[in-house]
Every structure is written in C-alpha cells, then in structure tokens.
C-alpha cells in the first residue's frame, strides 16, 4: 500500500473521500500500474485533492476543467493510464460542457466522480446532483432545480461504460475502478461519497439504506434497460456497471494516432517542412 501514499490529507474525519482514495490506491496496485505510468488529473474541490494524496503523476488543473487536459494527455501519450478524480460540482456544474463532449470523443480515460451531492470545498452549496429542497447558505429556500442524473445523461450522450459506486462499499468500488480503468474508452464511474460536514441528507445511513449491487443477472448491454436502471433513484438505487458497450476510442479512430503511435515520440522531419515551404512557391 505504501507505494501510492503521499501527503497528509486535509479532509474532515469521516469523509467518504478517504475510502475512495484507498480504493484508488488499491485498484492501481492490483492492476500493477507503476506510479510513473499513471497520471491523476483533477479540477478543484475536496474530491479534486486526490492527486495531492497519491504518489503518481499529478495534474491539478482548474475548477471544472479536468477532462480537457486529461483527454489531451491521453492523446499525447497513450501509454499513460489517465485517471480523472473530481467532484460533482467540478464535473457536472462548471465542467458540464466537457463532460458531454468528452463522452462524444470517447477518449480512453477513467473518470471517477466523487458525488457528494454538494459543493464541499466552498462550504455546502447545492451541486447539480443535490436533491430538490436541499438547503444551503446560498439556497435558504432550498434548491429548486431538478437534480441532474449523471448516469442517464452519460448513456444518452453515448458513453460506453457507465457505472455507479459507493464509498461505503470499498470492495465493490475497487472492482468497479479496475473495470473502468481497463475499459477501452471513456468510463464514467459516479461514486456516492458522503460529505459528513455539509450534506446532512445523503449520509452513510441514507446511502446504506438504498444502494444495492447489480447482480450477475443484470445485462448492462441493453441501452433502453440501462436508461431505465439509471432512473432507479428511489428507495432502491443500483450500484455497479449500469451500461457497457464496446466502442472505438479516440486514439483508435484518429488518423495520426491509430495503431498505437505515441504522439510525444514523433519528431518533425525538416525535409517534410521544406516540402511544405516549397508548396507555397
């Protein structure tokens, strides 16, 4: 376990992030990834502190902007295992546009959204996944907007791997993380993460009463079924892989990258440049 360990964390005791961090370390170790082959990319937020606490290449970018650099890193060097660990606000709020469009790109990265249904680092405002009626300092009347359903939107946008995990079920979460990392393409893993300080609705207890693991009898390959499953958010909430489909990845489709060529290893040939120069004569 030591290999992926680094700094002391700044999270609140009891925060769901601790479990997610441990699961990520375990998943990477079980997959036998070397820290220097892994890049952890994040935006800004409590979840987004993950790259600070894991001994791997780390890209702590801007709030909401984790996906674009992550995608580009994978385009530049597909030998790297690229993991995005970031919050629900980061991903679905500020970063919503990149969420949609990187699904369309289908770049081969694993995206772990620590979904605490709240803006943690900025002290408890409603996030896009907060329930209606969620009260905060800036929403004293309670949040009026309909919560966004990340899984359903991801499926509707064409994601090939759509899953939900729960910080309170680490064994299952490690498995999901490994599946997401090994999936070839954009893999969304939305992880229920209790925020013990600011989310007094979606507590460990609340989640424990609701989540259940999808069994082997569940077939994640049927899109319509999967959408229905993704809408199951009442008394029972499924965790596991809700939808899965094999798709060609960005790098496989891209003319310059396909065949496993590593962009950063390419060199520009002066003769080729001179040829271009001549074309203008």
């Amino acid at each position: 376990m030591a290999e992926y360990k680094t700094y002391e964390t700044a999270w609140c005791p009891g925060c769901g992030n601790f479990s997610i961090l441990e699961c990520l370390r375990t998943a990477l170790e079980e997959l036998e990834k070397d820290p220097h082959e892994v890049v952890v990319v994040a935006g800004i937020g409590q979840a987004a502190k993950i790259p600070q606490y894991i001994n791997a290449n780390a890209f702590s970018g801007l709030h909401g902007r984790a996906l674009p650099p992550a995608a580009a890193i994978k385009m530049a060097n597909e030998k790297l295992t690229v993991i995005v660990s970031t919050g629900d606000g980061d991903t679905y709020g500020e970063g919503g546009n990149h969420f949609i469009h990187n699904i369309r790109r289908n770049i081969d990265i694993a995206h772990f959204v620590h979904d605490n249904q709240v803006y943690g680092l900025t002290k408890g405002q409603a996030s896009p996944t907060s329930g209606q009626g969620f009260v905060s300092g800036v929403e004293p009347d309670g949040n009026n907007d309909e919560p966004l359903n990340p899984l359903l939107i991801a499926i509707a946008t064409g994601a090939g791997f759509v899953a939900r995990g729960f910080a309170g079920n680490p064994k299952h979460l490690v498995k999901l993380m490994k599946q997401a990392i090994e999936y070839k393409g954009y893999a969304l893993l939305d992880i229920y993460q209790p925020c013990v300080t600011f989310n007094k609705t979606n507590t460990y207890k609340w989640y424990n009463e609701r989540v259940y693991e999808l069994g082997d009898d569940y077939d994640p390959s049927n899109k319509i079924n999967a959408m229905e499953k993704a809408m199951e958010l009442g008394d029972k909430i499924p965790i596991g892989v809700v939808y899965q489909e094999a798709k060609r990845t960005f790098n496989e489709k891209n003319e310059v990258l396909k065949g496993g060529k590593v962009l950063v290893d390419k060199k520009t040939d002066p003769a080729a440049v001179n040829k271009l120069i001549k074309e203008f004569i």
């Binding site: 680094t6 700094y7 970018g61 650099p69 580009a72 530049a76 990149h98 950063v264 520009t268 074309e279």
Partner: protein, 555 residues
C-alpha cells in the same frame, strides 16, 4: 507597381480568383500583396480584395487602383472613385455602367460556354494577364501545382479564353520574386508552428483565426500533428496545456472573444509553468464586434489577462516572414522559460497574402522538455534563473506533479507565506533573462529624423510605405520604430531614438493608443500625438502620410 481590385458578392468566387491571380503574378516575378476585405456573411453583400504587385517588395495595400475587376455592378459604384484616371474596369458586357474606363467582356456567357458559371472571375484573370503583358503559356503548370487536379483544366481553359479577348496595355515589369513564396499571415503562423515541431493543436473555429487550423489540419497526417476541434475555447486551451504537460508541443489559436474564454487557463499555464503558444488573430471588438475585420485593440488585454501575476511574452508579427520565424521563436521561448507566449496577429496580416523569400529552417532550433533526470526530481525546484528542469510524465521513473494552487518545489499545494513569496519570485525571475533576449523594434527611415512614428505588428507595411512617402518630399525627415516583441517591452532602441526625436507619433489600429500607453508606463516616453484608426480597415501608407502632413492626427 500595379494595383487591382476584385469585387463582388460573397459566393461569387472572388477568393479563388485572387488565389490564382496572386500565384500567377508572383510566378511572373512580381512581389504581390493581397488585401482581403470581407463581410461576415456567406453569400451576397459586398466583398473585395485588392492585389498590389510590383518589382520591389510590396508589404501593404493601397486604394489607388489601376484596375477594377467587377464581378457585380455594386463593385463599380462603390470603387469607381478610387480608380486612377487611366485605370480600367473589367466587367461583364451585361453590366450597366457608362464609365469610359470600362472594358466589357461577355465573361458570364463565356463561363457558361466553358460549362461552369462560376469561372467568370477566372476568365478575368486571363484578361488581366494579357493587359499586363504576360505570357499565358505556363499557366497550366502553375495551376497544377496548387489546384485540385480536377479543377485545373476548366480554369486553364477559362484563363486562355479570357486572354484572347484583350490587348496588352501595361508594361511587363521584371521582378525577382518568381521563386519566393506567397502565403497568408495565418498560413505563415501555421507553418511556423509545424516547423517548430508542433504535435498538438486544438481550437474552436473563430474568424479570422480559423485558417490557421485549416492549414494545420490539412497537413496533420503528413506532419504527425493531432488536430482537435474543441467543444469551446476553454477546452481548447486546457487541452493544449494538458498536451504540453505530457510533452507535446502544443498551440491553440483564436480571436479576442475566444481568448477571453481562455483567460483563466492562460493563468493556469502561468502558475504551472507550462510552455504554451496561443495565437490571437485580432478583430474589432468589444464582444462580437466586426468578425471579419481588423484591429489592434487587444494589446493591453494580452499583457494583463488573468488574475494574479506571472511572466508571459507577447509577440506581434509584423510581416508574413515574421509570422513564420516569430512563431518558431515563440515555441522555443515558451519551452525555455516555461511560460505562455501570445502571438498577437490581426485580421489584416492573417488574411492578407504576401511574398516572402523561402523560409530557411536550417538554423532553427527549438528547445525540448527533459525525458530523463538523475537525483531527486522536483518539478518546481528553485534555481538561479527561475527556470526548473521540466520532465514529462511517463518518460522517466520520476513523478511529475503540477498544481494550479500555489505549491512547493514538489508541486504540492501549500499555504505557507514564505514558500508563496519564493514561488512568485522564482516565476517572476525568469523575466530578467527573457528581457536580455528581446528583439528591439525595427527602425525604418532617415537616421537624421525629426519625427519618429511608432507602431507595432501589422502596422509594419503601412508604416514603411508612409516613411517612404513622407521622406520623398522636401522638409521634415521621418523615421519609424515598429515593435514585434511588444511585451516585455524592449526599450534600448526606443530610448535612443526617442531622445533624438522632435515629435513622436504613435500609429495604431485602435482607439486608445495602447502601445503608446505601454511605452509611457515602462519608459516614461510620451507620444506627442497619435494616428488612430478603428473602423475595422487597416490604414494605408498614404492615409498615414496624409494624416501626418495634414496635421489631422487625433490624440
């Protein structure tokens, strides 16, 4: 020197006509400068290009026309007054004009006969070749070099048909530019980036910057560059930064509005010390402004964009040649200093074509990040110069950690006052070395000048013409300084020349005299008056001359 205008509605093929004619004229030995004045629409309206060609290098446009090629009647009514007395108007026989200078040729009918109603403009090229005493024999070879195979025959035919209809009217001048290149400023930037080793290019379409993307995309396979159209400009620059982190030379380009969206990530490049080249092809603002026109009003914005303070560089290419070499230099500086560099171009330079001596890349060297490192690796190690060794992830056993929060040498988030101060100092320190390698502004004109004109970027062409004109008369002597490196501001030559100057006049394509402001701030040198234009059309050498001689400067 000759000067032709080709005008018509959007969609009438003015652009193709100009592209063929400029190439031919250069092959006939001329230096050519093609100015493009387009409306922001796809069909209709009034568009025109002005093509100037001569046996000395032509670096700017002029409204004193020798000929007008009118693809519609509006072109005649709008531009007649700019035509010299002995000039000509080449138009279709059907056009309703009684201007004595008109040469009417049934180009539309001829085009129909050839079987493609769009080639009227190309027929006009044939006429022009004849008028200017050129031999049309080699046309086919030239066209084959740059047109799609399937378009060559019809165009050659059109030119030949046109050629037959006219008589020689102007002397052919013997120029030395046959083997020079002709390309647009945008293409020169794109080619410069490719020559610098560009690997990753990401952008969102935006006039007038899109042609940079188009050229790079066209050559992407051949040159091994990943070109990605982003969902928005925020993604574009953040992707470019990600690719740079991973070790790919990367660039994004846009115009001011897109740059506005990149501002936050521009600062990300600043604090993470990530090499990055951003091209801003300026157009008139604020906001959407005049999308297809020109302005130089983003200078101060580039100099101070993004919260906080960090070193950056702003280079404003002055000519098509500069656009190429300075782009290469931008990549090198971005990597050596680990800073973001802005190439601050504009629609005038970007869309116009110019004739340039073939680029020589034999001396080109562009710095690269490290792939190996021995000892304890710290991404942000304090060093004397402020520049730390930059490893790329995955290529060594080391961990590369970067952070948009303030961080320590290892790249991990901190809150310490002491480390904060040291990190700001480390970053700002780079400016000291950078200032040593700034390129001083070009000096044009009389060594013994009275009045010094000051400009930057694409004002180079108009200013050099103005200096020639101004000095061709008796009396006051003029000179000009044209800045390419605009920030940090190189000040040695400026101080030297300002000392000698009786008057200093800044000539800028904006309303507030932005360079003059920067000069005041950084050197205390005050311009006595200004010539400012901000109507979306580049000022000409003649207009500058008139403003200055007429005392009609505003400022």
């Amino acid at each position: 020197m000759y000067n032709l205008l080709i005008g018509g509605a959007a969609g009438q093929g003015i652009d193709t006509t100009a592209a063929i004619l400029e190439k031919l004229m250069k092959r006939f030995g001329y230096s050519v400068f093609t100015y493009r004045d387009f409306m922001s629409r796809i069909r209709g309206g009034h568009n025109f290009i002005i093509m100037r060609f001569g046996t000395d290098e032509v670096l700017s446009h002029s409204y004193d026309l020798d000929g007008i090629i009118a693809l519609n009647e509006e072109t005649i009514s709008i531009h007649e007054h700019e035509l010299k007395e002995d000039g000509f108007i080449l138009c279709d026989s059907d056009m309703d004009t009684d201007d004595k200078r008109s040469i009417k040729i049934p180009m539309n009918d001829m085009a129909k006969e050839i079987g493609n109603s769009k080639v009227s403009g190309v027929i006009a090229i044939g006429v022009i070749l004849k008028l200017f005493g050129e031999n049309a024999d080699n046309v086919e070879e030239v066209l084959r070099g740059f047109l799609d195979e399937k378009h060559v025959d019809v165009n050659v035919k059109a030119i030949n048909e046109g050629y037959k209809t006219a008589d020689k009217r102007y002397e052919k001048l013997e120029g030395r530019f046959e083997n020079w290149m002709i390309l647009s400023g945008n293409q020169a930037v794109a080619l410069g980036a490719i020559a610098a080793g560009l690997r990753f290019y990401c952008a969102y379409p935006m006039s007038p910057a899109t042609p940079i993307m188009e050229y790079i995309a066209l050559k992407s396979h051949e040159m091994g560059v990943v070109v990605e159209q982003a969902e928005d400009e925020i993604a574009a620059i953040n992707m470019a930064i990600g690719a740079s982190y991973a070790g790919a030379k990367s660039m994004t380009s846009t115009s001011g509005g897109g740059f506005s969206l990149m501002v936050e990530a521009f600062g990300l490049a600043g604090i993470t010390e990530m090499p990055l080249v951003v091209v801003n092809v300026q157009r008139p603002g604020p906001a959407t402004g005049l999308p297809t026109r020109t302005e130089q009003a983003d200078l101060k914005f580039m100099v101070s964009a993004s919260q906080g303070e960090f070193p950056r560089m702003v280079i404003a290419p002055r000519t098509h040649k500069d656009a190429f070499y300075q782009t290469i230099r931008a990549f090198d500086i971005a990597e050596r200093y680990q800073i973001p560099v802005v190439i601050l171009s504009d629609q005038y330079l970007g869309d116009s074509s110019g004739t340039v001596e073939p680029f020589d890349i034999s001396g080109v060297e562009v710095a690269e990040p490290l792939r190996e490192f021995s000892g304890e690796y710290l991404r942000y190690r304090y060093t004397y110069s402020g520049v730390s060794p930059r490893l790329i992830p995955g290529k060594s056993e080391n961990i590369v950690a970067i952070d948009s929060d303030e961080h320590d040498e290892a790249g991990r988030i901190i809150e310490s006052a002491e480390i904060r101060t040291k990190m700001v100092d480390k970053r700002m320190k780079k400016l000291e070395m950078l200032k040593e390698e700034l390129i001083e502004p070009d000096f044009i004109g009389h060594d013994d000048f009275d009045t010094l004109l000051i400009g930057w970027g694409s004002m180079y062409g108009p200013l050099s013409e103005a200096i020639d004109m101004l000095n061709s008369a008796e009396g006051e002597r003029f000179a000009a300084l044209v800045f390419g490196d605009v920030f940090p501001l190189p000040d040695k030559v400026l101080k030297e020349k300002a000392e000698k100057a009786k008057n200093i006049i800044n000539v800028e394509q904006n309303a507030t005299g932005q360079l003059a402001g920067i000069i005041r701030e950084y050197t205390g040198i005050e311009c006595s008056s200004s010539v400012l234009k901000y109507d979306g059309r580049q000022i000409t050498g003649k207009q500058i001359t008139e403003k200055i001689l007429g005392g009609g400067s505003n400022g």
